[in-house]
Structure formats: C-alpha cells, structure tokens
C-alpha cells in the first residue's frame, strides 16, 4: 500500500519505527509529514492547555533524548531491538529516499496539497495535532490511529493514565480518525499488561510500542483498507472526553500505581 505517515516532531520514535517496519513489510512510504514543534500556534496551545511547567516538560521530550550514557527508555530500546539505527525521521527519509515534508500545521494548505499530490491508500497518524475536516477529506477518510486507551470508553488525552484512574482495563485501540475526538470506527483493541512497579512513563511507552506493533501487524499483507475496516465497531462520542491530568490527579495515579498488584 502507498502510505503517508504523520509525526508531531522530527524525533518521533513511533513514527520512525512505523516507517521502517512498514517499509520492511513491503509497503511504500510515499511521504512523511512532520509538524514543526515550535510554531507560535502550537506553543500557544501548549501553554493554554498545560501551563508553562507543562511546556517545559514537553520541550524536554521534543529535544533529542538519546544521548550516550543516558539510560534508554522503552521506545528507544524498541528501535535498537529492531535494528533501526536512525535518530530522526529526516535521516530515515534521506536514507530511504522518501519525501520529507515539514508543515506548520497538518491542516495547513501546504500539508493538504502534499497529501492530495501523494494520493495515498492510507494515512497513518503518528502525531501532529487535531485533524480538521479539510485534512480528513483530503485523506479520503482513510486515516488510521493508535489510541493509547480503550475506546470508546476512554477518549482524549492521557488515555493510559485515565484508563487506570477510571478503572478500565489498560488497552490500546487502533481506529479510524473522523471529525470527533477518538470517535471513529474501531479496528482492533489490545490489552496492555501492567506489571508491579511500573511508572506512568513506562506504561505510556508500552502503549506506544504496542500500537506500533499492532499497526504493523494489521497492515501485514494488506492491499487496501476496506478489508481492515470490515466487521468493525462504531466509535462513540457519548462518554466524557479526557484531558491532561491536573497535578493532584497525576499524584493520585502514581500512588495507585505503587499499590497495584502484578498484572
């Protein structure tokens, strides 16, 4: 299949892993569409949603983290385990001769033009902000996403954390993107085992890796998305949306995790 993969920033490990693993399984990655992480609009949204402290935290993640001597996180370890030697999407695109496009916003005219020119069989969403109808339309409604929580129960942000707080079984859900927030058709749901002593960070990493593996598995040998969507469930916007955890709730979650028995 001819694919376009989006990313929220150049160092996105899940996007990088998906690019390489899908390429290895015979798919054609036509374009990697990367959003500039530090556009004024994005910074303003981050400050509004997370405050200055949250912004610092996000900035820390966006900056290169795989320095020598620093313990590798699970995502970086996943790249190593799969023999993916690239540090950025730009480097991967250059080595794989794939078009690398940087846009201020996935919904911008430049991004939509790029998508229309590419005409992919499917878009795999691996970050870049909320998609508007113009992008969804340009992608012919064929956008696949990995959501780090069980849908339709846990929609929105910090889904791993909310799954635990709301007493749902931590899971990942592969689904189609529509105009709602995590309300599109559900393709598959996979349980996420959580061990004793896990932290929010390790569980999030696990959810991301699990999503990459699941998407690659679902796309294995696939020639079009219709087969993937056959017999699937509809998503729902009935439940309350989840947002970024307030500090008190984050602390409560950490406390709950510490007292959690082995999965």
């Amino acid at each position: 299949m001819k694919l376009v993969i989006t990313a929220g920033f150049d160092g996105s490990i899940p996007a990088l892993a998906m690019c390489e693993l899908l390429r290895r399984s015979g798919h054609c990655i036509d374009t990697v569409l990367v959003v500039t992480p530090f556009s004024v609009k994005r910074l303003k949204t981050m400050v509004r949603q997370r405050g200055i402290q949250g912004l610092k935290k996000v900035a820390g993640k966006l900056l290169p983290s795989r320095k020598s001597g620093v313990e590798l996180n699970l995502q970086a370890q996943f790249l190593l385990d799969n023999g993916i030697p690239f540090a950025s999407l730009k480097a991967w695109c250059k080595a794989s001769e794939v078009s690398y496009v940087v846009a201020k916003d996935l919904n911008s005219s430049e991004s939509i033009k790029c998508l229309e020119e590419s005409g992919p069989d499917a878009v795999i969403y691996a970050g870049g902000g909320i998609l508007k109808s113009s992008f969804i339309k340009a992608a012919n409604h064929k956008i696949v996403n990995n959501h780090s929580g069980p849908l339709p129960e846990v929609r929105g942000m910090n889904a791993v954390e909310w799954s635990i707080l709301l007493k749902h079984e931590p899971s990942i859900t592969i689904h189609m993107i529509d105009q709602g927030i995590d309300t599109g058709e559900i393709i598959s749901r996979k349980r996420l085992p959580i061990g004793k002593g896990e932290t929010i960070e390790t569980i999030r990493d696990k959810a991301v890796i699990s999503g990459v593996v699941e998407i690659v598995r679902l796309f294995d040998g696939l020639t079009n998305l219709n087969y993937l969507k056959k017999g699937t469930n509809r998503g729902s916007s009935a439940g309350r949306q989840c947002y970024i955890l307030a500090p008190a709730l984050r602390e409560l979650l950490s406390k709950k995790l510490k007292g959690r028995p082995n999965a």
Partner: protein, 368 residues
C-alpha cells in the same frame, strides 16, 4: 499513616493562609468581616451579606484543622449579625455604615446569605436564638415573593429579580428543613420554578447577571447554578433543579480543561466568554459546583476540571511576605485590574477559595 499527596499539602497550606486572611478581615471589621481590601484604599467597612456566608466557611475550617479560633470568630460574627437584624426579620443591603442605617430597607439577597450563617451557627451550637433569627429572615423573604415567583422589590441593579437569586431560595430551604414552614418552602420553590423557566436552549439561564443585559460574571453564573443544586439537595429531588444544570456545567468543565483552569471571567447568554480576565471567585465557585455534580455520578474527569480551576487561583494568589495584608487574600480578578472587583481583594473570593479547597481535599481523600 498514609502520606498525603503533595497537592493536598499545598491545598491545605493555601486554605490556612486564606482562612487567616479572613480572620484579619474580621479583626478590621468592627464585628463583621470587611468586604474587601484594596492596596490603595485599605480595608473597607464590614459587609453583612458576606459576613453571613463566611460563617459556615469558618465553622467548616475549624473542623478541618481542629482549631477553634475559626469557629470562635464565626460565633462573634453571628452575634454581630443578630445585633443588626431589622425588626421585620431582614438585614439591610450594602456595607455596614452605622451613620447611614436609619431608614435603610431590607435586602433580599443579603438577607438570604445571612441565613446561611445563622443556620450554620444553629447547627454548631444548637442555640435557638440563631434559628429564630433565621426563621424571621426566611419568613420576611417568603412574604416578599409575588404570584409570579419573583421579589418585586429589594433587587440590586436589575429591573426584575435576577436568576442568581436561586442563591436566596437555597438558604430559605435550609431554614425550612428545620422549621418545616410550608410558607417558606413554597415561596422558595416558586422562585426556583420561575428561574428554571428562564433556561435557554444552550443551557444558559437568562438574567443571571447583575444587570438586565450584557454579560454575567462567572461569580453570579455560579451563584445561579449552585442555588439550583443545593435546593435540589434540600428537597431531596436532584432531577428537579440539579439535573437541568448539568449541560451548563459540562460546558464549564470543557472550558476549564481547554484553558488549564483559566476560565474567562464573564459570559453572555450565548455562552461567549470574555477572555481578558478571570473572575477568581467565580472560578472557585464553579469548581465547587462541578464537584457537587460529581457527587451524583462520581467521575474523576470532573474532579480534574475542578482541580484545574482551583489550581489556577492558587497559582496567582499573592504570597508576598512584604505585604501581609494581601497574603492569603484572593483578588476579584486576574489580572488585578480585570473588570470584576477592580484592584480589590474581596472577602468572598477568599471564602469561596477556602470552600473549594476543602471540597477538593475531601474528594481526593475519598479516592486515596
């Protein structure tokens, strides 16, 4: 002993500072609590209305910290309010200026808020003097409600009784719980029904502000919602007045989440907000309303939204050691020069901040 969450420790610190600031406002208030502190003008005269509803806050704070200094202050204020009650059972409006009291007429809204203080002290002490005063006040209020369920006289700025007077019906029902006076309950419900009829398609309630037209501060919006919620609780029928507020509260939950607790200070009836400032007392009041809704159907997502509104107040609360008069106070607006209570620290901002802190700490303790 379980370790407290860092946020709970922070909330308790803020609560102590704000409650102590309220004690300071009482010390300067010649019996009541000063309405506000202004960095330019200093402390104002005492304000009977807010003195009344600060009483239950101090009683609760006293229990929270197991420290009697707050309930002692509450009792002293209660005595002062008894002393200034009018013959007809009402209390006058505005600030308490002894020279201007002759001939001043009773205020519906202020009398309603003072009833809360009287009832809190009755429950605390069992002393009938507080219930008798509350009963007289509630009966005065009930006698003023006309056939349409409105108070024709005694309003603040609007030509017709504003919808935030649900915050008067609530204490009337609080009194009814103890007196079982059908006269008081019927009058309160007549107004609540009339106000509920003003509910618009988008969930907003018409005439919920100080004025007939224009935007309402989140302060009076939250008054309106809370009045309905508490009235529902008192009559034991959540569906009647509490449930109809849920869609509106969901709107504010989303606003809190999308702005990280920086909820616009005012909204018009089309629910378009003015983002230029935050009405801090409104933020605290809305957080309380959200937590009240959450009691009906527990969901930590609601607690999250409330926490963000409360955290925002904490993040802008002055903690300056250089000016002890504002330490623990909560400004009317953020920034200080916002439209609501321009350049002042009202005592009701601190009161609602204290209430919201105690509510969220209690909720988090249940979860722990």
């Amino acid at each position: 002993m379980t370790l407290k969450l860092p946020s709970v420790l922070r909330y308790e610190g803020d609560l102590r500072a704000s409650a102590d600031w309220l004690l300071e406002s009482i010390k300067k208030g010649k019996g009541g609590s000063c309405a506000h502190y202004s960095p330019l003008m200093g402390w104002s005269d005492p304000y009977p209305e807010t003195t009344g509803y600060i009483i239950p806050t101090l009683v609760r704070t006293s229990e929270f910290f197991e420290d009697s200094k707050y309930s002692v202050a509450a009792l002293n204020m209660g005595q002062w309010l008894l002393d200034i009650q009018s013959q007809d059972g009402s209390w006058h409006g505005g600030l308490h200026k002894t020279k201007e009291l002759i001939g001043s007429k009773g205020s519906v809204f202020n009398t309603g808020q003072i009833l809360k203080g009287m009832m809190a002290l009755f429950h605390l002490t069992g002393d009938q003097v507080f219930l008798t005063a509350a009963d007289r006040g509630a009966s005065w209020l009930a006698s003023g409600v006309d056939v349409n369920g409105l108070w024709p006289a005694g309003d603040y700025r609007a030509s017709e009784t504003p919808s935030y007077y649900t915050h008067v019906a609530w204490p009337m029902l609080e009194v009814w719980k103890s007196t079982q006076s059908a006269f008081q309950r019927d009058a309160a419900e007549r107004f609540l029904d009339a106000a509920l009829n003003r509910k618009l398609g988008n969930g907003a309630i018409a005439r919920w502000g100080f004025d007939d037209e224009g935007s309402a501060f989140t302060h009076t919006i939250a008054y309106t919602i809370r009045g309905f919620q508490e009235s529902s609780r008192l009559i034991g029928d959540y569906c009647k007045y509490g449930r109809p507020m849920e869609a509106l509260l969901e709107f504010f939950v989303k606003k809190s989440e999308l702005t990280n607790g920086r909820v616009p200070g005012e909204f018009n009836e089309a629910l378009v907000g003015n983002k230029r400032y935050v009405c801090l007392t409104g933020n605290a009041q809305l957080a309380i309303c959200v937590l009240l809704m959450e009691r009906q159907d527990p969901d930590l997502r609601l607690v999250n939204a409330a926490a963000k509104m409360i955290d925002f107040i904490g993040s802008v609360q002055p903690s300056s050691l250089f000016n002890k008069r504002i330490r623990g106070g909560v400004a009317g607006s953020y920034p200080l020069w916002g439209r609501y209570m321009f350049m002042r620290y009202p005592n009701w901002s601190a009161k609602y901040y204290c209430d919201s802190l105690m509510s969220i700490v209690s909720r988090l303790e249940v979860e722990e």
